[in-house]
């Protein structure tokens, strides 16, 4: 008798347990691919994206998964392309041919992003790049390819409108304009945008030095010497982290501190102070005449980003929150939101949902603070609706931080230090 009761009881318990588990098991997880350069030359960029994407996915799963799909959990498929095009293509194809994969975040940086564009089209695979800036990729009007980053040409346009604004508002002379940039896809595209902008304002004749340089160089003194010799009124410097550091070192050594605006990690990376040292950094990027392009205006109020940063830092105190990380997080957020919105496991529907994503002014979903124009996140031709800021480094409360000065749509937001 006792044994029978025990048997029935355990059978009932098993049944209840099974019923309890079954609904959870029944919903297949939603698979999202994330691939990029996690090893190799560009690993710094790839890893930033990956950290942010992992964090976003974990957060969404902890909140109960995709609600419109019955609380389906998100499963991230991570793939490394070791910074080479052939593995990038192989990865994308692998994700494309897996019908369970609904969208892909990455790959970041142009050489890995450019070759996967046709594959995204072939498999109708929504692909959201985080820091891919080359205009050319988006000019085909591919409905499945997106980026959350500012495009290289728009960097250039922002530099141009900033220079013009400085001229018109503060009377800075623009008789001699110089520009130095890495002679790769990024540098050339930025400068193309800049030249177009200057031409519109009628200053293109004043560009006296057009200086592409080898960004893998071990010393930029000769470049700085050439710029110095051109006696610029205003200088445009495009630089990555390593060559940016070399540039600032050389400027300091040669006692050259022009009015200048610069972009990319060579001017706005939070780590610059650590690597340059307080004195050199203070004398060059911290001086009153140097301006940095930034895609995340850390000093402007942005509730969404502050909350995000707080959450992220609590979990990963050792990872610096910088632009690439924020862009990676945004790419992940948009993808998740689009799946939620599409409400079905269909790639075309998700791509459509991505196209219809809109942002209001000061939208808390905009982590970088670069989407200042209300409207769709993605424009018709696939280009993002995003703009960067021009900022200036300032020392306050014993630490250096960036103060946002200028936005191409809003004009001057604050008075530059030199004129205060």
């Amino acid at each position: 008798m006792g044994k029978q009761i025990l048997f029935v009881a355990s059978l009932t318990m098993l049944l209840v347990a099974a019923l309890g588990i079954t609904p959870v098991v029944a919903v297949d997880p939603v698979k999202i691919g994330c691939h990029g350069a996690f090893t190799g030359k560009y690993a710094a960029y790839g890893m930033s994206t990956l950290h942010a994407v992992r964090y976003e996915v974990a957060k969404k799963n902890a909140e109960g998964g995709i609600k419109s799909l019955g609380g389906a959990k998100i499963q991230l498929i991570e793939m490394d392309n070791a910074t080479n095009a052939k593995d990038s293509v192989a990865n994308h194809e692998r994700l494309g041919t897996n019908p369970a994969v609904l969208a892909v975040i990455g790959p970041c940086t142009t050489p890995m992003s450019q070759p996967v564009e046709p594959i995204a089209a072939r498999y109708r695979l929504p692909t959201v790049h985080s820091i891919t800036t080359l205009d050319k990729i988006f000019e085909h009007g591919n409905e499945y390819v997106f980026t959350v980053s500012v495009l290289a040409s728009r960097y250039g346009a922002t530099y141009a409108s900033f220079m013009v604004a400085m001229h018109e508002k503060y009377g800075l002379t623009l008789n001699r304009i110089t520009m130095a940039y890495p002679d790769n896809d990024y540098g050339i595209s930025v400068v193309d945008g800049f030249k177009k902008g200057m031409k519109k304002a009628g200053f293109d004749k004043n560009i006296v030095l057009d200086l592409p340089f080898n960004w893998k160089s071990k010393d930029l003194s000769p470049i700085v010497l050439k710029i110095k010799a051109a006696k610029p009124d205003f200088h445009l410097q495009v630089a990555y982290f390593a060559d940016g550091k070399l540039y600032h070192d050389a400027c300091y050594n040669l006692g050259f501190h022009p009015w200048q605006v610069g972009g990319a990690s060579g001017f706005n990376h939070p780590k610059l102070w650590k690597t340059l040292g307080e004195k050199i950094g203070g004398a060059t990027i911290g001086n009153k005449k140097t301006f940095a392009y930034d895609m995340a205006a850390f000093d402007l109020p942005n509730a969404g980003r502050d909350a995000w940063t707080k959450g992220f830092t609590a979990k990963h105190p050792d990872i610096t929150v910088e632009m690439n990380l924020l862009l990676g997080a945004m790419a992940a957020r948009f993808v998740i939101e689009a799946i939620e919105k599409a409400g079905k496991r269909d790639r075309t529907a998700i791509a459509g949902a991505l196209h219809s994503l809109t942002l209001e002014k000061d939208d808390p979903r905009d982590l970088a603070g670069t989407y200042k124009k209300p409207g769709p996140v993605w424009m018709r031709n696939g280009k993002p609706n995003s703009y960067g800021y021009i900022a200036q480094w300032e020392k306050g409360n014993g630490r250096w931080s960036k103060k946002t000065l200028f936005h191409p749509l809003m004009g001057m937001l604050a008075v530059p230090k030199a004129f205060r």
């Binding site: 996690f38 090893t39 991570e78 793939m79 490394d80 070791a82 080479n84 095009a85 052939k86 593995d87 293509v89 192989a90 194809e93 692998r94 041919t97 142009t110 050489p111 450019q114 070759p115 564009e117 046709p118 089209a121 072939r122 080359l134 050319k136 002679d183 790769n184 896809d185 050339i188």
Partner: protein, 326 residues
């Protein structure tokens, strides 16, 4: 002696035949990604074998192959994109350019009798210059590279299914191994071996060393360049970083080293072992870790069997045959 050798050979060829049949049937069982991976594996077998002619058989530390691959990839792609010339035609122009470049550079270097290291470095110098030319020349797309818009069709050397690439790669690899086998059994192969063993002595017994090294280099360059076109049509994108890449030639040498320099089957064995292992580790174990595995494997193989796996295997087979005279 001769009889033993041919008996060993027959066993090896039977093994190869079985392997070939397995490989022919494999795509029906493989996912698209693995099919693509294997197409790449075959390309590397093909490239490593082509490198092996000049590198392994003639014993040179030759780093000129990025130029050859680049010449093939860029020639056919530029012709195809700008003038609509079929890659099947373009690839031969690329190969011709590669051969000419190889002969000119080779002639300059061999004539001055550079020691091994200087020769290796001068090759690296030329490869680097090649990469810079690709970066600077607008026709070649500069650092932005060239994208081939997908347009499947036999005339465009683009295929609807990856398994077609797989079979094409397999065919190329088999052809290349056959050519290597033929060379190794031929006058050229014996001369190269003599040159590798002792160049001065070879010259003394009347071998025109410069001529045969140039011949080997030209053959190697020709086939490398054809592989470059195949690469471009498989990936549909080339840039200086990937098409004039020193990393690729380092991988080729690595595969040859594991299998055995100068042996016909060395590159096949090395590539077939290392590349799939690397791929599995890269995908399923830990990213970035596969290079550590490569490194450890190559060191272990070199310490245990300094001539590579194929010579080790051959000497093992020979030993067992000697032990059992039946």
């Amino acid at each position: 002696m001769m009889g033993e050798n041919s008996r060993t050979d027959i066993k090896i060829y039977l093994g190869l035949l079985v392997l070939l049949i397995v490989l022919l049937l494999l795509p029906t069982r493989l996912s698209i990604t693995w099919t693509r991976t294997f197409a790449m594996v075959f390309l590397f077998i093909y490239w490593a074998s082509a490198w092996n002619i000049i590198g392994g058989m003639a014993g040179e530390i030759n780093f000129l192959h990025p130029i050859f691959i680049g010449a093939g990839a860029y020639s056919s792609t530029v012709l195809y994109i700008n003038f609509g010339v079929s890659p099947w035609v373009g690839m031969f122009l690329g190969a011709a350019i590669a051969v000419v470049l190889g002969l000119v550079i080779g002639w300059i270097c061999y004539r001055s009798g550079l020691p091994h290291l200087s020769f290796a470095l001068i090759c690296l110098g030329f490869s680097h210059i090649g990469e810079i030319i690709a970066l600077e020349w607008d026709l070649l797309g500069g650092s932005r590279g060239l994208v081939i818009r997908p347009a499947p069709g036999l005339a465009n050397m683009q295929f609807e299914t990856i398994s077609t690439y797989y079979y094409m790669g397999l065919g190329m690899a088999v052809l290349m191994v056959g050519i290597c086998h033929w060379i190794s059994r031929n006058k050229l192969g014996y001369y190269l071996k003599a040159i590798k063993h002792n160049e001065t002595a070879s010259a003394a017994i009347g071998i025109d060393t410069v001529r045969y090294r140039l011949l080997a280099l030209a053959v190697s360059a020709f086939f490398c360049a054809l592989g470059g076109t195949f690469y471009a049509q498989l990936v549909l994108y080339i840039d200086p970083h990937s098409a004039v890449s020193i990393t690729a030639v380092i991988s080729m040498i690595l595969f040859c080293a594991i299998g055995g320099f100068g042996t016909v089957l060395g590159p096949v064995v090395g590539t077939l072992i290392l590349m799939p292992i690397g791929e599995v580790v890269r995908l399923y174990v830990m990213t970035g870790f596969h290079l550590i595995i490569y490194g450890v494997l190559v060191i272990v193989v070199i310490l245990l069997s300094p001539h590579g796996l194929v010579p080790w295997f051959q000497s093992r087979m020979k030993k067992t045959q000697e032990e059992s005279p039946a």
